[in-house]
């Protein structure tokens, strides 16, 4: 690993900038992600910040089943995201498709869609419907620790 790589990784671990992507979700996971910013959970004190653009993102927080309409866009966002980039599959829908696996508009699961673009993508899974905010924080903390 070069010095630059080490610095990038240190930056990612210390203060991950997270870009939220909804690929066709019921909003529960999305609302709980916003919850993380509010006083009770307050992830900003842990250095987690919501990024305004995928180009500034260290991590993509992906919710939703990845509908047929959202598929190409998800791949485009992944391409645009600065590397290294951690893909967080948040919620049952993003992990596996959940109850929507046999739906006619299902084009996921998210990890297959990402791996089509980058077979070596770093993907983590936080299951739940929705995962509780504590579970999301624990999942991200664990992932950052293991990076």
């Amino acid at each position: 690993m070069t010095v630059l790589d080490r610095v990038k990784l240190w930056g990612l671990k210390k203060s991950p900038w997270v870009y939220h992507v909804n690929t066709g979700a019921c909003n529960n996971c999305d609302i709980e992600v916003l919850e993380l910013l509010t006083p009770r959970f307050d992830v900003e004190r842990l250095g987690v910040v919501l990024a305004a653009s995928p180009r500034h993102a260290d991590a993509l927080m992906v919710t939703g089943v990845c509908t047929r309409q959202a598929r190409a866009r998800l791949q485009e966002i992944y391409r645009q995201a600065a590397k290294p980039c951690l893909v967080v599959c948040l919620g049952a829908c993003a992990c596996t498709g959940g109850i929507f696996q046999d739906a006619w508009h299902f084009a996921g699961p998210v990890d297959d869609v990402i791996r089509e673009v980058d077979p070596d993508a770093k993907i983590i899974y936080i299951p739940g419907c929705p995962p509780k905010p504590e579970a999301m924080i624990a999942g991200i903390a664990k992932a950052l620790h293991d990076l």
């Binding site: 690929t23 019921c26 909003n27 006083p39 995928p54 309409q69 485009e76 929507f100 929705p130």
Partner: protein
Amino acid sequence: MTHRTLIPIGPYHPLQEESEFFQLYVEGETVVDMDVRLSYNHRGIEGIAMRRTWDQVPYAVERVCGICSGSHPLAYVQAVEEIAGVKVPERALYLRTIVNELERIHSHLLWFGLAGHFIGYNTVFMWAWRYREPCLDALEVVSGSRINYANHTVGGSRLDITPEKIKYVHERLDEIERPLDMFISTALGDPVLSLRLKGVGVLTEKDARRLGAVGPTARASGVPIDVRRDDPYAVYDRVDWNVVTRSNGDVFDKVVVRLLETKESIKMLRQALSELPEGPIRADVKEVPPGEGCGHVEAPRGETFHFVKSNGGPGPERHKIRAPSYVNVPTFKATCIGQPLADVTITLAAIDPCYSCTERMLVVKDAGSGKRLMGFNDLVRLSQQKTEQVRQCVARS
């Protein structure tokens, strides 16, 4: 020379020419037309429901929209109970009211926080969501989950409530009441909010009726419809409460309607919690005969309408789901036209569509006059800047 330009902006990829959710056509800085492309969130839930049994469907329809997670299952089970002629036990009717009014409070507070963020009152966002937490705690204690309560079943309720839990919910309501009163007096009394929101995004009563608008979107325009009063279900015809309406149809009135409704919800909850009768919480439903049923409830956003057709089998033959936003979002066309870009986010937010739907708002410009790219975040910034200008005006006067 003015010319129409279509400004494409996406939170995803600003440079791509593609149809995003909301497309706004502008002349100069004023919106002249609007189009919507659904599809991102289309998951085919009606199809899924039709491949499940009667008892499984509530868990699927809960996930139509997470915020209205109590309303969809209740509308569905009511439709089925209509077909099967089920008499739901009294205690269950009270439990249904309790869950759905808690849902209304959490949803309206969520909305109030987001609306605050869009116009640059980030403190409102933090406070509103902070005081939403007691409501979510109450829901977790009552149903087992902060969200996706899974409490409404065909024939009654899944989980009963104990005296300790009733006390707990009363205490959480105590926690919410004072901040809520503060939000209401802020909204009504703050001169900056008045200037910023009055006359913005007006939906006339005529348009509200013509377009079939429902919920606070309709009530703020003087259309006095509310399923809880018009076709009472659960115990809405037994508790004392008022339908809240206003008449200007602007964003300001929509804020006021939702905040005052939240107060009414607390009033209803206190009554329902205190008057809960003893008894079973579920009727035994052995089968659903052939037939058709309509179930509708007043979700936080307006009427949620479900239609169910049975052919006597183990699950629905057909299940139609219509969320309130489906009729309310088209009113955005009537309210955003003529608005400056800085008012577009709050005008859309005032209809209270799903947050993810709002995120996908974009303004598009044709090739020809050069690309102007403005994402959702830019539109929010414009909105916040305008509030700042208004604040400075008020401070100077």
